[in-house]
Symmetry: D3
Subunit: 272 residues, 6 copies
């Protein structure tokens, strides 16, 4: 039994979330094409791999041939020096979208991030139409891809769901994740919803599990059909036992971006 797609491309497939998606998305396609800069371990029969750097336009053009949908999780995984952000996320994503356009890919799912709106405070309870307020160069590069993908929908008819993932880890690792956690299973559910929704156009969705503390309002992404089934709350007691309470006056407590707002500039000596 196969899903609605013949071949889905996953970029960043060797990363932590990419690895989860290889399993989670298997039911949706006959074949998963995987790409990353590093080797991808333990290929399954339904998988094929291509090792390449997204900054390599020709390689990306080649790898996006014969693809029905792209789950674009490649790029710098957190705050990095500008040169790396520029190449891996900005230039790399441009190449991916050009590959999609020239090769006729219809739907994209992009791993955007809370860090595109990290300087909004929790008590603003923003929805997905709030202006961007990135908290890092990493976040700025996510804003770039969100804008780029908007163009590719409005002008070229390529759908994209931009998923602003908060904290997707095996389990909540600190107090912030009690409200920012996206379980790996819910991450797969969210990408699955984005791939199977009847209409995506250009949609921005927050990526969060059903945690009790809700920092944002995801109502406007209701047509994706994402229903989280996990929650950070069973982990609460453990997390609180081994971590200190947050300082309510600290920016890292108040803003969605958490400790990213405390980072200096990545190009400064010794930053991060």
């Amino acid at each position: 039994m196969t899903g609605p797609y013949d071949t889905i491309l996953i970029t960043g497939a060797a990363g932590r979330l990419g690895t989860e998606l290889r399993q989670g998305l298997a039911p949706l396609a006959n074949r998963l094409r995987l790409t990353d800069r590093v080797e991808i371990a333990d290929l399954r029969p339904n998988e094929e791999a291509a090792i390449l750097d997204l900054v390599d336009a020709e390689a990306v053009m080649e790898v996006t041939k014969g693809i029905d949908a792209i789950v674009h999780f490649g790029g710098a995984p957190l705050e990095k020096p500008w040169a790396e952000i520029l190449d891996s996320t900005i230039r790399g994503s441009y190449n991916v979208y050009e590959g999609a356009r020239k090769n006729g890919v219809g739907r994209m799912v992009y791993a955007s991030s809370v860090h595109a709106i990290g300087y909004h405070p929790l008590d603003a309870q923003i929805d997905t139409e709030a202006p961007v307020r990135p908290d890092s160069l990493y976040g700025v590069s996510k804003c770039f891809v969100e804008a780029l993908s908007r163009l590719y929908w409005d002008k070229f008819g390529i759908e994209t769901a931009c998923l602003r993932i908060f904290s997707s880890f095996p389990e909540p690792a600190d107090r912030r994740m009690l409200w920012s956690w996206l379980s790996h299973d819910d991450c797969c559910r969210l990408v699955t919803a984005a791939l199977t929704a009847p209409f995506v156009g250009h949609t921005i969705s927050f990526g969060l599990s059903d945690n009790r503390v809700k920092p944002v309002d995801n109502t406007k992404a209701g047509h994706l059909g994402y229903v989280p089934q996990d929650s950070a709350d069973p982990y609460r007691a453990g997390v609180e036992a081994r971590t200190d309470p947050p300082d309510p006056d600290a920016p890292a407590t108040r803003f969605l971006g958490g400790w990213f707002v405390d980072l200096g500039h990545p190009d400064d000596a010794g930053a991060e």
Copy 2:
């Protein structure tokens, strides 16, 4: 054991939804008065029937006597030539509201439709205060009754809940119904909520089951107390197996009204 009303009038009682309501609303009243243009089968002891055309003002005035609430589901059931829309929905509904006004009926429940706002896209995630954007003459006539009923509340103190029913069928029949379905049971729940809510005034509510994909935001109708209990999702696999995927660029995929936006004008030769 009886409900809060002595006699409820159901118009369009011989229709598909009318038939469901006869059973669903029985607990709410001592007596259901039923009306339709065609014969109503299998009357139960708590039911009385009157066969009439709503365009007949005198008959409507007569049948609305001694009534406590009207569940107004009569009128053209989908896109029809103008002459029919005019008579059955516009003139007919005026007659019903005049009957309510002159006979002292306090609360109305009206079967409005998604087609009153069918030209809004899913990704707009409209709420019930969005401007109307009808997708058909049928939809325009629903807008008319919504406006008429607003007047009858503001000026004459008659409450109306306008229920913008999406797709109320025994089960989801196509891909669109995976997000537009209102189960028959949920339809009865919604009408029941509208009849028993502590305050209705003039309220517009969307009529949808608890489907995973949510095309609109019904928050502003929270005071009706409608809680859907069904979902299209158990039918998803079956529907997807026997239907083609939607074209994301097609207006019928993008807009709430679905295939209604593709209909030509009903008065043109061979329209619909």
Copy 3:
């Protein structure tokens, strides 16, 4: 020197505002075709007249041939019995839009009314996207045409500017008109703006002069390019001298519709 149109049709051309428009719109077209139920006096060389009732579908179809734009000011001019509202505004306007559709008219200007939103209070400061709240059957029929024209834009590509005219009279006649007045010249300016705007699509605009007291917010109609140049304020002292102050608790003071909210139902004996 001629305006941008060859032939403009004005319905209701024998009415008070129709008469003003004959002069005001003359610069915009080579020819004005005029229609009304009654004879139109003093035809000018650039004018041609057709006496007909808008409820006569064939006559309307005929008169809308060879027309580039329609300024639709025909229909019941204020609260009337339902039968008259139905024929002159609802059925008549449907005929006009069908004429436009079949004869390829591209742009319509419709004389809607404050009475489509007459039950909103002044202190709500509504904009043009607020839900309708008609104050009369007259207002309900305006809502009908607004919805109908929305359909004809979304489905058939015919542009309409719906102008919610407040009180267009030679000069302010009572206290309410100190904030609801639309001078005859500003009325012509507004229709001219609607006819010459670069893009109308379906736009709703309030129709008010630049009175000091502003009951609504017309910002969302900015693309029509209407700039009022008259004001009721020079008439204030005179009006206040000969009229009583309003009662702040009276609905007619509080609501946009003014004395229309105090009207009973027009079909009741002795109504209005």
Copy 4:
């Protein structure tokens, strides 16, 4: 096992809700300090009591020493003459906030009330940012404390969650409580959420159980992490059997404040 606080002060601890909170908040602190004007019965080992009037600034300053959080439920419990409102809520709350400021208390939870916004109608479906519309002097005094606590956050960095409690009783006692009920357990859950939320700043939350009929929209308080678990609906049949249906035209039916909107002025002879 202790909660995140060493000592929590509860004002109004002898009141109905105060009594519930003594039990409900016990897990959150090593010690509960209780204060009220009247004696507090049955002190538990983790409790210490101080009998005082909040209008006594010195006593309040003393009792707020060594406190980590204050749950401020003291003050007039419903509509009262101005002199009492002034002393118990306005002057008393000022004293409490000054105690918090001078003694370094970081977080406050305030028992505000639906009566701060009691003149909004149900069908407005307001959220927590709607302008205040108090329905009583009691409600005005709640607005005062909400404003005062906003200042203490913005200027002095003291967090407050203002909980607009609707009707917190052992069970729903009348028809209105079918939508306004906050169970005692949910009340404790709400206060617990406010005390343990990662960031409060200044947050206003409605206080309601998960009743089927929802009169307001609490989305903007999502970061408190309050999830109600009770509902008035199991009590519905009983309540409806022993009470009359509401009159939809009565202000007490239409407005959030219920019967408070029918109260005269408390300083008039025989008021209330």
Copy 5:
């Protein structure tokens, strides 16, 4: 020639703005009754004075007899110790509103202040429905009167225009006043508008001249009919020549309240 009122009461008539209003409002009434705690100089024939403290309920009840409208500018004129704020603004204003209620005064104009919303930043461009964010006890007391007056409209039908005056001085005295200035003449125009508007209900309006830099959006007060005619800009060169540029990072630059946000607590030793 007289205005629309027989007798208007001005509280705080000996203050700077009160003195301006004595002249500015003279055309609106046959008689101005003036009250203040201190002697009022140079009474004109149309004026009568009463020296009293607004905290004296009996005196206020007496002085509000035979009054048609009250322009309530009395109370603490800026940040003061709590005891003074409490007596002069909170208790005093309650007395004024009770006088209005018992003596049948129909319309009030209240001198509220920017300091009721002083913690909103300029770039938020708030409108008059934004939640209050007072910057001082002075501001909190203004919020109290705004809430109190809302109650007196909703429950007792007494209209109030709350005018949030920014900086009303003879001319702009510092850089902030280049955007916060309300000229004395415009102040009189604003109060005049509030006294003569056809419908006030409960309306909040910002009080600003037509300065080039606009810190807030006053659209929702359009029905007052206030049109400022002065501007701070002619004073710009002079002010900039004799003052230092603002520090963009300073709260006093960023927030509407200006230097009030830098004030400590007035009850602390040496505050202000």
Copy 6:
């Protein structure tokens, strides 16, 4: 007599708008430093020039030393191949912001563009908080700089006014410019306002003259204090005489971006 700044840097100073700014901003600073890739003609005594490419990080770091404010008008002036957009706008602007950060520049004025929001239709009447909808790679790069500058305010305290310039030309050259025109003088007024506003933080403003047809709502930028003084309307007759009327169904008529929405992809052979 000099303005508030010692030295202002203008990037893109040899461009059409840069040339205008050299004259328009002269009164604001003792010295204008000018930079461009090409030679800058006719240097005045208050000017100094540096020929460099903004993609050259070291050169930019050098030229931003000793600067008080930067008017950043450099970068690709319209749709260009990706490689050029990447270098001149994305990499170049990053260099400029890094120069500002490391050299302590406090305020930036950035030439953003209507093309950052070009896919919004006129009848949406968006304000400056609407989500971006770029119509070209050029527009995407403007979105990037807007996001980047937001970060530099939130994290590094550098103010930026992003001016979304519509069509700044000597005079309106086509029908679209009748609503999109920003006169050269108004362009200088807008930049001057951004440089002299008391508080900018991060502000987005539309850049338009006071044309009669208004496609967007600039209210939220009111604190910049920009008051346009020119209008396209005196040019209307001439423009209309020599150009064809727009097609209302054409995207270039309907969307803010005009003919940019009709451009293909710049990297395709023969694009543009």
